[in-house]
Each structure stands twice: as structure tokens, then as C-alpha cells.
Amino acid sequence: MSWIEIATRAVVWFNYFVLVYFLLLNTLYLGLFVVSLVEIVRFLRRTFFSDDRQIMQSDMTWPISILVPAHNEEKTIAETVRSLLMVNYGEFEVIVVNDGSGDGTLARLVEVFELRRIDRPYKRSLPTREVRGVYGSLVHPNLRVIDKVKGGKSDALNAGINLSRYPLFCSIDADSIIEENALLRVVKPFMERPQETVAVGGIVRIVNGCEVRDGKVVRVELPDRPLAVFQVIEYLRAFLTGRVGWSVLRSLLIISGAFGVYRKQDVIEVGGYSIATDTEDLELVVRLHEHMRRQRRRYRVVFVPDPVCWTEIPNSVRVLARQRNRWHRGLVQTLWRHRSMMLNPRYGGIGLFAFPYFVCFEMLGPFVETLGYLVVLLSFFLGVLDLQFLLLFVAAAGLYGIFLSVAAVLLEEMSFRRYPGWVDLTKLLVFAVLENLGYRQMLALFKVRAFLDVVRRRRAWGRMDRSGFGEPLPASADR
């Protein structure tokens, strides 16, 4: 058999593999969408009766510590902290951890919130890099700022956990703003089942394009830049169809680091955030699952689609590439680190379903996709390209991708309707189509590169260029 025949046969078999892979993946996506649809309808019925005031006023509501790790966040930190101090909640404290910033993050906090150095003793439940000082404010007694040597986001969060007083803690990114009632809603699962709930995540939405005043999002609008609109669609799909569905299946592996609430005792029990991976949020949730299952404890990790956290996203391809590279590296590192869970019945649905899904489709999916494009080229050169088949396959895959994006828009329209204008809706629908013509392929390439970076043991957090909430970004700033 000649090498051309071998290659031809390999190409044919790869085509079959891709077809099966495609069918399996999209069936799963469709299943998740249906589960999410049902859950969101149920959720809306449950939350038709708002009882936020009661949670806020009750002495029985657990107090909460809000942890904000900050590294070079001079532009946004004051707005973020101001919005946090205004949240509706009974008893809470805000702990900002200045993780060795090289800019004026600490000075800005000291100036705006009239901070002064205090000597606060605390128990070091989790090891961290050296803490240089703790600051308090006489004006805001529930605000604390930790100034520490740079150790990364995980290290900063661990320092915040050490200093926190309360049984629940909420991690929030310094470039994010949470809505006034978001905390009340995100702690509700802890109130409903206090013994079982270990972590709860809320939905993260994109603040680019919105108007922010005094630490509050006062007008919601889609961003102007196409790259940002693509990410809006992506976030809607990931949160409304992905996380809602996984949460119902009790297999949620990720709670966004931008906004999640955890029971402190459980996090300390598993050793806090790990500094060994690039996505501390994913790794922590997977470790909590692993720990709880090993202990045979009844527990749940929940996603609630209503409490909203607004966050800034990359406006340029360069920054987006860095961000996605880190996310995918973190995914690969976490899955590798906890590989013993894969197909292990001891871990129930997580081991038998969620973990294989993440390995086969989230981790390896970009490889299959990129390889597919290469095989098309190879088939062409080998003369075995069935053009009609290819066009039909591309059409089916593209339409299916579009269908899933439009389905996410539908979920948004029937539930929370944060983008109320007709222009925004039209934009969402148009970009749901356009997303499949380049953007998705670009992300696949970023992820393949991230995988190779893991293999080559390259690690970098990747700088995120902030524009700040109040100031419009100059058009040429990050092109």
C-alpha cells in the first residue's frame, strides 16, 4: 500500500471521526440547552416573588466577606470598591488585596477611602507571601485593605481568606461591578440548603459599552466593537446554556473567579486556592468536588443565573489571545492535575460525565477543529476532497453553531432582557451568525497554542489593558 493510499484512508477515517465527534458534541450542547431552558423557566417562577428585603434584614442571614484581589488596578479599583460598599446586604466586609501592584492602586485606595495602617491580628490558615500591612478606614469600618508582596491572584485570595471574619466569602475581580442585590441573590442557595451548599456562582455580564456612574451600571448597551459583541454572545451562551445546564446536572466544574461565593471552612479544608494552575477558580471547584466526593459528603455547587456581575473584557485581539491562552492553559493544567477523577465512578456524574466532556470537547475540541481544517487541505492535495460533502458539513456545523448562539439570545430575551433595545437585539442576532465566520476559528487557534504552551511549561498571567469604567476608551488605544 503506497503512502498516498495510507493518507487517503486516514483522511476518510478522520472524516468519519469528525462526523461522530460533531454529532456527539452537538447533541450534548442541545441537551444542555433544553435542560437550561427548563431550569430558567423554573428559576423565573421561583424568583417571581422577590424576598431580598427579608434576607437583608434577617439576623439569620450569614454575614459575608467580599474579597477583591487587585494587581495594577489603579483605574478601576475605586469604582469597584465604592460599588461593593453600596451593595444591599446585612452584615458584610470588603477586603481588597493589593497584590504587589506596581502602579498607584494602594495610593488610590488610601486617598479615596481615607485608609490608615492598622495592626490587625489574624490567623494564617493558608500560607501566603509576606503581608506588608493591613489598612482600615474610619469612614468605612467594613473596609480592609491588605498590602502584600506579589504572589498572584490565588495567593492574594488566600491572604484575603486569612483576614476574613465571616463564614462565607465572595471573590470578585477588581475590574468588576456587582449589582446592588446580587449578593442577596447569590447567598440564597446557602440559605435554602445550609448544610449542603459549598459554592455558588452568579452570571458575569460585559460592562464594555454600558454607562457606569458612581459604581453602578446605569445604562446597559452592547459595545460598539465587533470583538466585544462576539464576546457578549459567547458569555450569554456559556452562562445561560452552559453553566445553568451543568448546575442542574450537579456537575458544575467552574464558578467564575469574577463572582463566586464559597463556604470558607470548606475552602480552608481543601487548602485554599492553588498557585499551581493559571485558572484558580476552575481548579478550586474541581478540588472541592474531589474532596467532597472522597469524604462522601452530601454537597452541591450551584449556578444562579440572576445575580449579575459586570466585568470588563478585552477590546483587542492581542489581549483576548492572552486571556484565552491563560484560560485554556488553566483548563488543561486542572484536568491533568485531577486526572484520577476521569471516568472514575467514585466521583459520580463528575467523573463519568462532566470530566470526560471537558477533556474530550473543551480541552481537545480546538485540536479536532484545527486538524479538521488541515485535513481539508490535505484532502484537496490528495484529490479525495468531496466538495459537496464538505460544503454540506460546513453548512451543518455553521448553522448549528448559529442555532446555539441564537438559542442563548432567546434565553436572554425570555428571561432577563438586559439588552432591551431593538438595535441591540438585531446586533446580537447578526453577530450570532458572524461569530461562526472567523471568530470561533480564531479562538480555536488560541487554545491550540495554549495547549502547546502547557506542554512547553510556559506560564504567564497576561496583562489586561483596562480602560476604567468612567472614561470612554480612545479609539486607537489598543488596536
Partner: protein, 411 residues
């Protein structure tokens, strides 16, 4: 194979188009309806309110008849306002809801197979103050869905229906803390009438129910239950004793303070912690020596609450905290430093270093010397660099040197 793919393309394409049309049509319909309702509301609301403040008998007559579409608008106006007013106006709004047939519709809604319809109907009956539906609402207290039970109980509570009190109290035993919070809120809102029933049912409740009951008594703030709460300080269960301390602190009855202060010697730390917290709320100065001892407690929460309580006591408490600066117990010293810093006392004393030589300055030097000796010198170090007065900076530097602070002690 290609035929299958072609079918898939057509099917997915049709789904995509269907979804898009569905989104657009639903949005257009919803927005059109909302606009129409808003316009009708703008026009009808002033006429409805004129009727409420007038003496006409029928709202329908006053409005010149109400079409089926307008009924929803009128109902929403009535429901919005009925929650905000009292007395005659409320009665007239409730009567108008009845006249429009809403009350009967809500009563029928209680029989619905959909739990959310039953819950909404119960809630609206409560808003409408439909006393004749009280019996229907009482039967809803047996509904299998907790949300419906809670809405029905809240409606009965809003009507002042005593029938709701006992089932609500028993429902405090439900394992969901969320349910407990809401039921406690309803019972607290009912005020005085629930106290006797609560105290009567107490011995038969689970521990969680008991804790919620004590919290309600604390929130109602009735002095009538003070003696009963004091007796709970002797309860076998530590959480009951702790919550009783908390409730007595919330009520603010000064006569209870000595009994609460006794609890600083309880063998269980949650009781000691709550006792300290309550004493801070009561500002009972007789407890200062006990609180000063509690700042040395082996448990962090007791130390923190006791130090905080001393801070809340004002001058005498702050003076006690100052004496703790050279306490042999390391933790007590640290808590004292923190509280004195948070109360602004440390900064006051530092400012006094700039003043003329005299008792005030000597007092400041003495206190700051003790503080420097604790090793908790973060604030001193900071001001040693940034204080605008060079004399103060020098004085602080001298104080630290005298305290012979070992290098690199973490704060």
C-alpha cells in the same frame, strides 16, 4: 450520508429561522402590549385615585365601564396602591378589587394545579385584605409546596389572621434557613400577638425552630418576654443560651445586663462570644472587668467581640483597653491595639505628642510606649514617615527604638 447531512442542514436552518422569528415576534408583542398598558395607565390612574379619595360607590361606574384589556391595568393600579395606604382608602381599594371580580378570581386561583398561580393568588388575596378568603387561605397552609404555604401564611398574617400564627410557628422547624428567615419575618411583622403562642410552643420545637423563635422575640423587642429569655440563659443547649444572650442584647433591657454578663463564664465559647456582643449593645459598664478578662479568651470570636464591646462602652471601655496594652496575654494586647486604632485613640495620642509638655503628652507617651512594646507598630511606622510634624516623627522613632522592637516582626 450526504442526504443525512442535507436533512440536518435544512432542519437546523429551519430551527434557526424559527427561533429568530419567535424572538422578534415575542419582543414586538410584549413591547406593544406594555406600551398600550402604560398609556392606559397614565390615563386611568388619576381617575382611579380621584375615585379612591372621593365618595362614589362604584369604580366601574366612575371609569365609565372597564373593558377586558383595561381590567389588567386597573388591577395593577389597585394592587400597587393597596400596599401603600391605610384606613378608608385601603378599604375602598380592596372593595374595588372585589367589584372587578379579582378576589373571586384569586380564590379560584388557589385551586390551580400550578403552584406559582396558587402562590400568586394567595399573595394577592393578602394584599386585597380579602377577609372572606381567610378560610381558603388557611387550607393553603397544608399545600405541599412550601412557597404556597409561606405566601398563604403571609397573606393571613397581613390580615391579622390568628389562624396563621400556630402553623407559621410550627413551620419554623423546616430545615431550610431560607424558609425560616421568611417565616420569622412574617411573625415579627405580626408583633405582640405571636409572643404568647411562641413561648407556649417553644418546648416542642426543634433546636433550629427554638433559635428562630428566640430571634423573633429579640426582633419584636417586647420587654414582656425578658424574664422568659433570661430563663433560657440556663437552657441545656449552648446555641439556645447564645441566642438568648443575643435577643436580650437586641431588646436592650438594662436589668438583664448582669445576667448576660454572667454568661461570659459559660463553658461554651459561642455563648461567651454572644454574651460579649450583647454586653456591647447594652453598654453595661459593670461588665467591663469581665469583658477585659474575656479579651484573653482562648477563642478568637470571644476576644474579638469582647474587645469590640469595650470599644462601644466609650471612655471607660477604652481606658480598660489601654490597660490591656501591657497584658501578659499576647492575643489580648493585639486586640487592644486594634480596637484603640479603630476608635481613633492611637492617632489622638500621636497628635498629643506635638503638644506642650504636660500630663496629656506624658499620658500619650506612656500609652504609645506600651503600644510599641506590643510589636504592633504598623501605624506608628507609617506615621513615622508621613506625619507632617518632624517633632512627632522623631518622637515616634524614639518610642520605637526604646521599645527595642526586633527587626522584621510581622504585624
Amino acid at each position: 450520508m450526504q442526504q443525512i447531512l442535507l436533512t440536518a442542514v435544512v432542519a437546523v436552518g429551519a430551527l434557526f429561522l424559527g427561533l429568530t422569528v419567535l424572538i422578534v415576534v415575542t419582543k414586538a408583542w410584549r413591547e406593544g402590549r406594555d406600551r398600550w398598558r402604560a398609556a392606559r395607565r397614565r390615563e386611568m390612574e388619576p381617575r382611579i385615585l380621584r375615585w379612591v379619595h372621593g365618595d362614589g360607590t362604584s369604580l366601574q361606574v366612575a371609569l365609565g365601564g372597564v373593558t377586558r384589556g383595561e381590567r389588567t391595568v386597573v388591577e395593577s393600579v389597585l394592587l400597587d396602591h393597596v400596599q401603600r395606604v391605610r384606613g378608608m382608602e385601603r378599604d375602598r381599594l380592596a372593595r374595588a378589587l372585589d367589584e372587578l371580580g379579582c378576589v373571586e378570581r384569586y380564590r379560584r386561583g388557589l385551586q390551580s394545579g400550578r403552584w406559582w398561580t396558587r402562590a400568586a393568588s394567595a399573595e394577592r388575596l393578602g394584599m386585597a385584605g380579602a377577609v372572606r378568603a381567610a378560610r381558603d387561605l388557611a387550607t393553603m397552609l397544608e399545600d405541599p409546596v412550601p412557597e404556597v404555604r409561606i405566601r398563604a401564611a403571609a397573606a393571613l398574617g397581613a390580615m391579622g389572621g390568628e389562624a396563621a400564627v400556630r402553623p407559621l410557628i410550627l413551620a419554623l422547624d423546616e430545615p431550610s434557613r431560607w424558609s425560616t428567615i421568611r417565616i420569622a419575618d412574617i411573625l415579627t411583622g405580626m408583633g405582640q400577638p405571636v409572643l404568647e403562642e411562641l413561648v407556649g410552643v417553644f418546648p416542642r420545637m426543634t433546636v433550629q425552630g427554638k433559635l428562630a423563635a428566640i430571634d423573633i422575640l429579640g426582633r419584636v423587642r417586647s420587654v414582656e418576654v425578658v424574664d422568659w429569655l433570661r430563663a433560657r440563659l440556663l437552657n441545656d443547649h449552648r446555641d439556645v443560651r447564645a441566642r438568648a444572650c443575643h435577643a436580650l442584647g437586641a431588646i436592650g433591657d438594662a436589668d438583664s445586663a448582669p445576667a448576660v454578663a454572667q454568661m461570659l463564664r459559660d463553658p461554651e465559647w459561642p455563648v461567651r462570644a454572644m454574651s460579649a456582643k450583647a454586653l456591647g449593645r447594652l453598654r453595661y459598664q459593670g461588665a467591663i472587668p469581665g469583658l477585659a478578662l474575656a479579651v484573653r479568651d482562648p477563642e478568637w470570636w470571644v476576644r474579638a467581640n469582647a474587645a469590640e464591646a469595650l470599644r462601644r462602652m466609650g471612655e471607660p471601655g477604652l481606658a480598660a483597653l489601654e490597660t490591656l496594652l501591657d497584658d501578659p496575654d499576647n492575643f489580648a494586647r493585639h486586640q487592644a491595639v486594634l480596637m484603640l486604632q479603630e476608635a481613633g485613640v492611637v492617632d489622638q495620642r500621636i497628635e498629643a505628642l506635638a503638644g506642650p509638655d504636660g500630663p496629656e503628652r506624658r499620658r500619650a507617651e506612656s500609652m504609645l510606649a506600651k503600644l510599641a512594646a506590643t510589636g504592633q507598630v504598623g501605624r506608628l511606622r507609617e506615621l513615622e514617615v508621613v506625619h507632617p510634624d518632624p517633632a512627632v516623627r522623631r518622637a515616634l522613632s524614639l518610642l520605637r527604638e526604646r521599645a527595642a522592637e526586633p527587626a522584621g516582626v510581622p504585624s
